[in-house]
């Protein structure tokens, strides 16, 4: 928010730029606090924007309103007790937080995971991705004012949550995937339910497309807004749909497969700038919609060849033995690369655990891409980055 001392070229939304130098104003600049209590900041994000009328000259992201000392807390608990804390980070994709942590611990502790557990992880993980993307797509509709799309998405997300509830007894913070496997088996009945859900859900994606993605006003609002060039995305360490929206086919499930992802056939979706420019909000949004289809594809394949067997070594439910050392492992969370860095001193719990949260890295790019937009676009851009404050602040 530093004082601009020289002329800055501020791009205008309708194209072209405007030179702004101090003292050169038609209207007075205004400092506007978006958040921490605001309907569209997806939690407690606070953005301080300097506006000229409704055009944003500069913005600064303030975070930390949801800080819960995750990294310090887990230094005092055992290896298996960490997973409930990971749940609370990205509370919209808790399964993935569990999975990343479990994989990191398994890598350090050389724990063998039963094959069935790996399959269950993939099925549940992709189901979680669908749930998370539905939330993102729906609230994005809410951000641009299409309330019905939001409720359509929530209707379908509700079904996935019920499946999760049946699987592990929880709707949001599952504590399901844990070092060594998963905490409960998927019965045949459950597998059937998931299969039914996929059959039901695939046509519903077209419904979302019809209602929102291809809606003229929606495209008008999102295409060509908040353009994130690829080099900028790479500079800021953006990952996930935000990076893929800028056109790079980077997906850890393909590039550095974990679990058994190398055995599955799916496409990595990238933005193509169909409606506006490459890397605009519509691209980032559309990635999520299309990824839901890919997730359905993966789940179908996994359901077809899930083997019989154990879902966890029972003794591992108590605690895991981890030798001295450190490991880093990243997984493709719905929001990007979720990395766990774990240090062990051979005791009952982690000596140090650090998390690379995708939302945290993605939100950093907000001031860059929101400059020159209007206040209404700010909401659209925040929504297209799809942050979860629990993860940003940890």
């Amino acid at each position: 928010m530093g004082e601009a001392t020289n002329v800055t070229e501020v791009p205008l939304p309708q194209g072209g730029t405007v030179a702004v130098k101090p003292g050169d104003f038609r209207t007075e600049e205004m400092l506007l606090n978006i958040g921490p209590q605001h309907p569209s900041t997806h939690g407690v994000l606070r953005v301080v924007v300097r506006t000229d009328g409704e055009i944003i000259l500069d913005s600064q992201v303030h975070i930390g309103y949801l800080h819960r000392c995750f990294e310090k807390v887990v230094e005092n608990v055992t290896w298996t007790q960490v997973t409930p804390y990971t749940d609370r980070m990205d509370y919209l994709a808790s399964m993935y937080n569990n999975l990343g942590y479990s994989l990191a611990v398994e890598k350090l502790g050389d724990v063998e995971v039963p094959e069935r557990a790996s399959y269950i992880r993939i099925i549940i993980g992709e189901l979680q991705r669908i749930a998370s993307h539905l939330m993102s797509v729906g609230t994005y509709g809410l951000d641009v004012g299409a309330i019905t799309a939001f409720l359509y998405c929530f209707r379908d997300r509700e079904i996935t949550l019920r499946i999760f509830e049946e699987v592990c007894g929880q709707r949001l913070n599952y504590n399901y995937i844990r070092p060594g496997g998963v905490s409960g088996d998927l019965t045949d009945e459950m597998l059937k339910k998931i299969d039914d859900f996929i059959d039901y859900f695939l046509p519903k994606i077209d419904e979302i497309d019809n209602l929102l993605s291809m809606n003229g006003i929606f495209i008008y609002r999102t295409a060509g807004v908040g353009i994130l060039p690829l080099d900028l995305a790479l500079d800021y360490g953006c990952t996930g749909p935000v990076l893929r929206g800028s056109g790079l086919a980077r997906d850890l499930r393909k590039d550095e497969p974990y679990g058994l992802y190398e055995q599955f056939d799916f496409d990595v979706i990238t933005g193509k700038g169909e409606k506006g420019q490459l890397g605009d909000c519509w691209d980032r949004y559309m990635i999520r919609v299309r990824e839901m289809r890919e997730s359905c594809k993966i789940i179908k394949q996994a359901l077809a060849k899930i083997p019989e067997g154990k879902f966890i070594e029972p003794k591992l439910l108590k605690n895991v033995k981890v030798k001295k050392g450190e490991s880093y492992l990243k997984v493709e969370n719905p929001r990007g690369e979720l990395g766990y860095y774990i240090v062990s001193d051979g005791k009952k719990g982690p000596y140090r655990c650090s998390v690379r949260a995708p939302s945290f890295c993605n939100i950093a790019v907000l001031p860059e891409i929101s400059r020159g937009c209007m206040v209404a676009d700010m909401v659209v851009i925040i929504g297209s980055i799809d942050i979860v404050m629990g993860e940003v602040d940890r």
Binding site: V18, R26, T27, E28, M30
Partner: protein, 188 residues
């Protein structure tokens, strides 16, 4: 019975019974416009001033109704309340440093001369109004006169030149205002 029309019917052809309400309406509207314009003199907050001017001009619109000029009354509301007031408010908001603080205006050092000038002017006007014989007609417009049609005919016949000039003037004013208010317009 047309309730709103009654006002102008009342003015044009007051029956014995309803004429009693005419002064009531007149004084109400007159008080509204005079009091609010007087308040403009006193009130320091410019935004309140703008709203007071609006109420004063609305009172005038009421008086136009009483004078049987409904078309003028509605034009007054549409142009002043819906147009000029918004312009003025935009002007106020765009020229305030602190957009959300009530702006206290300072008066010039001319309060006493201003009041004095107003008083003298009013005395002069009042004197001339009361002394001159205005030749009041005993045949005002009939209440059911189609004033809009008459105005339209007048505009298209007797007043055709001013009417056309007015459109040119409006265009010039539009372009001029847009040019002057353009970003960097001061520099040319």
């Amino acid at each position: 019975m047309n309730i709103l029309n009654t006002l102008s019917i009342l003015a044009a052809a007051p029956s014995e019974a309803t004429a009693i309400w005419l002064p009531v309406f007149f004084w109400t509207f007159a008080l509204v416009s005079v009091l609010s314009s007087l308040a403009v003199l006193v009130v320091k907050d410019i935004v309140r001033c703008a709203f007071l001017i609006m109420s004063s001009l609305s009172g005038l619109a009421g008086l136009y109704l009483l004078l049987g000029a409904e078309f003028l009354a509605f034009t007054q509301i549409m142009v002043y309340v819906g147009g000029i007031l918004i312009l003025i408010l935009f002007g106020v908001m765009l020229t305030n440093r602190e957009p959300l603080l009530i702006k206290r205006m300072k008066a010039t050092g001319l309060v006493a001369p201003g009041v004095l000038a107003g008083l003298i002017l009013f005395t002069a006007i009042g004197y001339s109004v009361c002394t001159v014989d205005w030749k009041v007609t005993d045949q005002p417009l009939p209440a059911d006169a189609d004033t809009p049609a008459r105005i339209g005919n007048a505009l298209m016949s007797d007043f055709i030149l001013p009417f056309e000039m007015a459109s040119v003037l409006l265009l010039v004013a539009l372009v001029g205002a847009a040019m002057a208010a353009r970003r960097g317009g001061a520099e040319g």
